[in-house]
Amino acid sequence: MIKLEDVSKIYKGEHIALRDATVEIEKGEFVFLVGSSGSGKSTFLRLLNRAEIADKGVIYVAGKDIGSLPSYRVPYLRRNIGTVFQDFKLLPNKTVYENVAFALEAIGRPKSAIREAVPQILDLVGLGRKDGSYPHELSGGEQQRVSIARAFINRPLILLADEPTGNLDPATSVGIMKLLDRINRTGTTVVMATHDRGIVDTMRRRVIELDRGRIVRDQARGVYE
């Protein structure tokens, strides 16, 4: 599903964010990216949906070399990759329903399809009754559920999560992880960057550890350290 061959990313010609990374992630896997701040976790994720372009090496997503994708094709790549962030990135002037619907409007889906899909996905993430609320009226956990709903509404092949529990208390984080696990079990590959030791140690999934841009550990059913 995802394959990196000797991938390096260097910012401003000096800071090496990722160094000769070679790794393969199978379809349906759940992978934790761990490492201290600045170790290259976010860069790793940003390379996968072509928010960044690798300076060296080749990245395959679903068998396609995404580095050679012309820029007008990039949106179509992103339709197959959902993304979730620590800060949710919800639009404050739109309701829960509108925030999720926006993901479908933006790719030109017809209104009828949107009216059908949005309530379904809101039920899935457990926010069926909050569709008219605005983000500032929701708790952090609820906001993250909205952002997951938005990321998953297209049933992407891959879900990228950059510290999705970084702003949440432990109890709320558990709920979010259950949701991501459920999404993973539908066959979606999940790659999640995290600092949350408890979560990694509890879930016992594949762990890839980065240190100053290098992959220093790649362990099936691993722990945080």
Partner: protein, 321 residues
């Protein structure tokens, strides 16, 4: 297993491809809604852009009409044409050709233009359009063909000395000299109108910059939406189009106001100056209603294009997709 999912990805992207170019897939109501809310959101900047476009294009429209009027009222007189050689209506082609040769050979002649009977008649009709009976009574064949001559010197004595050389050539009816005063007036009016045009063009440049700035601000105001749109895979044109349309709408609204101003100028000018006594200089400067339509059409086109350029550059610069 990766292979089958590659196919799934390929199939889903092909499906997008099959639905035609990005532009077609974008719903018009979406673009209209987004453009509308952007225009309202930045109302002060939008008004500044629209008003500048309106003033700029009004100058362009009016200067075009005045330019047409000046050309008409001075009978196609080029400010440098100082001498006319009229041929007899009965002059033979040989006679005309030999006069042309003599003119071309003369070192004091800079350039010549020949008006045949058809062109002369056209101009004659225009000059006397208020007297259709008179125009009716004239047969085009009775009109003299003529050469319009731009001498190398503007000194009237030198010019008349040059003219004397051609008076006695066979077939020549007579030689006439443009009044220096008329030429000078026309030259002044041309200069004045040239400045109006330049001022209008400079203001168009200012309008483009203002529209550029308005769109840049709009892009900045909507950066969160844009980020999310990129994230969920909105096509580049889906993100850009509302901004470009916004710029074009600003240009067009300005152009519509400018068209109104140009039209008002047309009405006021014709009511107050044309064919009024006591304003010898101005009452001949007029134009056809077709010229007004050309002016309006040009103003609208330039407005839309200026808007598209301003917003297109802003989007290209500040909207990385």
């Amino acid at each position: 297993m990766a292979g089958s999912f590659a196919i799934r990805l390929a199939a889903s992207t092909n499906e997008q491809k099959g639905s035609g170019p990005d532009l077609v897939a974008i719903r018009l109501d979406y673009v209209a809604k987004e453009t509308g809310s952007n225009l309202v959101r930045n109302i002060t900047l939008t008004l500044a852009s629209v008003l500048t476009v309106a003033i700029a294009l009004a100058f362009v429209g009016v200067s075009y009409l005045i330019g047409v009027g000046i050309e008409g009222s001075f009978g196609g007189l080029q400010s440098d044409v100082r001498m006319f050689v009229y041929m007899n209506p009965t002059a033979t082609q040989d006679q005309i050709d030999s006069v042309r040769k003599a003119l071309e050979k003369s070192p004091q002649v800079d350039s010549i233009v020949f008006l045949d009977q058809a062109e002369t008649y056209k101009e004659f009709k225009r000059l006397f359009k208020d007297q259709p009976d008179f125009v009716e009574s004239i047969d085009p064949k009775e009109l003299p063909q003529s050469f319009r001559i731009k001498p190398t010197s503007t000194d009237s004595e030198v010019v008349s000395a040059v003219g004397k050389q051609f008076e006695d050539l066979p077939g020549v009816y007579r030689v006439e000299y443009a009044s220096k005063l008329a030429s000078d007036i026309k030259r002044s009016l041309d200069t004045l109108n040239g400045w109006i045009t330049k001022f209008g063009l400079a203001l168009i440049a200012v309008s483009v910059m203002l529209i550029f700035n308005t769109i840049r601000t709009a892009v900045f105001a909507r950066r969160r939406e844009i980020e999310v749109m990129r994230l969920v895979g909105a096509s580049n044109w889906f993100i850009r189009l509302p901004f470009i349309v916004e710029g074009m709408v600003q240009g067009l609204i300005g152009a519509i106001v400018a068209s109104g101003l140009t039209w008002s100028f047309d009405v006021l000018w014709k009511r107050n100056f044309v064919n009024q006594r006591g304003l010898d200089l101005l009452n001949n400067i007029t134009w056809e209603s077709s010229n007004l339509w050309i002016a309006v059409f040009t103003v609208l086109t330039v407005g839309a294009v200026a808007g598209a350029i301003g917003s297109g550059v802003a989007v290209g610069r500040y909207l990385r997709v």
